[in-house]
């Protein structure tokens, strides 16, 4: 579990998680360390002076890639009257760099023995996450005059950490040390450089030639400034909304990462610390959220996902022709096929969402060239929906894992083992068809029909897709409608029986447009009704269901990203007040997390806890939580591309005050949107 006092800095999928002193003392279950390409390269990094540990006075995480720690010797058990100050400054760029500065405030000279313990277990991120410890390869340490090498070898698989210092150090098997004499008011400092390497036979780095884009610290700073300058400005009377937007913008910049397979192209990684890698679903949904603010990300994500779209059947990786990947990993367990992530394709929503994003991106950007470029991949994705996802043969997307050993049981966004249930709490058998995925498939077909007509010059294909979409909508409204509850079932089992619980998934159905108009009001009522809406947001599973638990990962917690799509869906069907209520709750919750929304928080009633209770092991920052405030801004302002220009139809919650979003990029160039909150919230239905 991630401790709340850990400090994290990162660049792409290289990151450092440490204690607030800057020290790293990892245990198999403690995810501190220096990580890169899904491998821990430092698990021990402990600074002592004259044998004493240091105590943190304060720290600054200056930017997402750098941090500074102010320390004094000794433990904080009583009053500290320190004659020494120690400053550790660190940055993650292509490598991990740390500068240690020591200042002597005493009127006398001091002699210091400064020591850094260094070690690495080379754990695969999966082993850290799942607390697996037995390594099959061998560790080695090489002490040289000017550097220390820590290594791990298993066959041709080799990962190595090399530590060097600007000041002369004495290296030994377990770290390095300096002997320093400091006169009064004198200071001393050293730069430590930690390189990570993935070495193949013949000493070649696996990333050789791919590292050309690794950025230096100054370049990172410049890049971040450019990123912020390019994004729309948000001015808001509601102070924490402005702060939340700024925080999201910077976190989104931090989460950009360049996959080994596509150097130079950045896509959003899913989240720190477990998921600093490419996920199909997370990346696509994040791109959809941030389209009005960072449209470039959609283009690169679509290209990267297209370039590794499935081409063959592989039951271990659950690959099929046309399928969009779920997750890619570079660690030892993926390399030795102990995990299937090279890449793994076990998700049923990424493929339709790929088509949805391409259309939505074109509507904003006017980038018809990309729609033409990805025609083949889009057609393959739609063919996958029809040919390979329909495991029962009745026109729905189903899932049942073929990798029964390490594959995912639930291949939808609610992917924990117990997330899909009947009202009596029993879990259905496989295959399963969850409702939101049918919505995505419907939306993909409707949108692809537009693309076929306008860009691919194939009106017959467009007609066919529209016909299929209409049939799917009709079928879906017949088979998934829970008559006695007046909502859509969470899923169907292979016999057509409904997993008839009330869940947040029905909100996604509004977003996709698969809900028949006369039923939409009922769905909206459920979403802001007392069983689903806590006051902060919509719960994943309704209060009163057998499996409901306010801190159940997918059975009662509130996921900010889920809520942002629900708000979008409500607006699509004209329920602006309900959308504003959700936006209001989630943005209020963000203020309790310093503007950084967690992956999930508890489903407790707002009146009961007064503040949102963070889900214990939630990832943070996480891409689709980071994207949430941006999609909520979109829904509150009602900004929508319309016949080549940007339509604005704001409906803000009361007390939100005035919001300006300036320089929204798109096919119209750049335009501004303004809104003022004046709605009365008490008119909301119970």
């Amino acid at each position: 579990m991630v401790q709340s006092n850990t400090i994290r800095i990162l660049d792409g999928n290289t990151f450092v998680v440490s204690e607030d002193t800057g020290d790293i003392e990892a245990t198999p279950s403690e995810p501190t360390g220096l990580f890169s390409i899904d491998t821990r390269f430092l698990s021990r990094w402990v600074l002592t002076i004259n044998g004493e540990r240091l105590n943190a006075l304060s720290y600054d995480d200056l930017q997402y890639y750098e941090a500074r720690f102010f320390l004094v010797p000794g433990l904080a058990t009583h009053y500290i009257d320190a004659k020494l100050s120690i400053i550790r400054e660190r940055a993650v760029t292509a490598s991990f760099r740390e500068t240690i500065t020591i200042l002597n405030h005493d009127e006398r000279a001091v002699d210091l023995e400064i020591r850094m313990d260094a070690g690495s277990d080379f754990a695969d991120l999966f082993q850290v996450k799942d607390e697996i410890v037995n390594k099959k390869g061998e560790h080695y340490t090489e002490v040289e005059a000017d550097r220390l090498r820590l290594g791990y070898r298993r066959g041709n698989f080799r990962r190595e950490t090399t530590i060097a210092s600007s000041e002369t150090a004495r290296f030994d098997q377990r770290g390095f040390a300096y002997t320093v004499h400091l006169e009064p008011n004198e200071e001393w400092s050293t730069d430590i450089d930690v390189q990570t390497a993935a070495i193949g036979p013949g000493g070649r780095d696996l990333r050789l030639g791919l590292q050309a884009h690794a950025r230096e610290r100054l370049a990172l700073q410049h890049d971040l400034e450019e990123w912020i300058a390019a994004a729309p400005k948000v001015n808001s009377e509601c102070e924490h909304l402005g702060r939340t937007y700024q925080r999201s913008l910077v976190d989104l910049a931090a989460l950009r990462f360049s996959p080994l397979t596509m150097p130079g192209q950045t896509v959003p990684a899913a989240g720190l610390p477990w998921f600093m890698t490419l996920f199909g679903r997370d990346s696509l949904l994040t791109c959809l959220q941030v389209l009005p603010f960072a449209p470039e990300m959609s283009r690169t994500t679509l290209r990267v996902l297209a370039s590794v779209q499935g081409t063959r059947f592989d039951d271990f990786r659950e690959e099929d022709p046309g399928r969009i990947l779920h997750e890619i990993r570079y660690g030892e367990t993926a390399a030795f096929e102990e995990q299937p992530h090279s890449p793994y394709y076990g998700s049923v929503d990424a493929t339709p969402l790929f088509v949805v994003l391409l259309d939505e991106y074109e509507r904003w950007s006017g980038d018809g060239a990309l729609v033409k470029e990805l025609e083949q991949e889009c057609r393959a994705a739609l063919k996958w929906i029809d040919d390979y996802a329909d495991l029962v043969g009745n026109g729905y997307i189903w899932y049942e894992r073929r990798n029964t050993d390490t594959g995912l049981e639930n291949q939808c966004w609610k992917d924990s083992w117990d997330s899909i249930s009947y009202r009596d709490g029993q879990l259905p058998g496989f295959p399963r068809a969850t409702c939101e995925v049918q919505g995505y498939a419907y939306d993909a077909k409707v949108r692809a029909a537009r693309l076929a007509r306008e860009f691919w010059d194939d009106p017959h294909y467009a007609d066919r897709l529209e016909r299929e979409a209409a049939e799917l909508k009709e079928r879906f409204n017949r088979d998934f409608w829970v008559a006695d509850g007046e909502y859509y079932a969470l899923a169907l089992d292979a016999d057509g029986r409904q997993a008839d619980v009330l869940s947040s998934n029905i909100g996604h159905l509004l977003w996709s447009g698969i809900v028949e108009e006369p039923r939409a009001a009922k769905i909206a009522q459920h979403l802001v009704g007392p069983r689903l809406f806590s006051g902060w947001g919509v719960r994943t599973l309704a209060e009163g269901e057998v499996r409901y638990n306010p801190i159940g990962y997918h059975n009662g917690t509130i996921w900010p990203f889920d809520n942002s799509f629900i708000a979008w869906g409500l607006r699509r069907y004209g329920f602006a007040e309900e959308a504003a209520a959700i936006a209001d709750g989630i943005i209020a919750a963000a203020s309790y997390f310093d503007g950084r929304l967690p992956e999930a928080f508890g489903g407790y009633r707002r009146e009961l806890t007064k503040f949102p209770v963070e889900y214990p092991t939630a990832c943070s920052p996480q891409a689709w939580s980071t994207g949430t405030p941006m999609l909520l801004l979109r829904t509150m302002l009602g900004i929508e591309p319309h016949e080549g220009h940007l339509a604005v139809e704001p409906r803000l919650p009361v007390g939100m005050g005035r919001i300006e979003v300036l320089d929204i990029p798109g096919r119209w160039g750049r335009v501004d949107a303004f809104a003022r909150g004046r709605m009365e919230m008490h008119r909301l239905a119970e």
Partner: protein
Amino acid sequence: MVDATTRFFEDLDRRGFEPLLEKTSGTLRFDLHEDAQTTHWLIQVDRGRIRVSREDRDADTVVWTSPAMFEQMAAGREDGIAALLRGDMTVTGDARLVVQIERLFPGPPDSRGPRRLFAREAG
């Protein structure tokens, strides 16, 4: 009997055009080496058009592996990306090219793909 490696390259050359490589151009050379002996296979891709030869020429991407590992990959019994991560295959140059060409290798021979429920009941 021809080995899977030769069959893989001959098939590729015979195909002439591969839609999956429509957006790809460049040259990739496989160097399969064992002891002192190295076999070269050069793939030239020009927006989907493919030519395969056994020339030892400069290429945008050079991939090293053993003939045995390649034979397994050509038969679908080993996965190229996993082999890369493991260090059983190494690359210099443009990594994108190897990722695109890797997609042309067959899946595992025992992989059956998704099976419809009624088909399973019938079987």
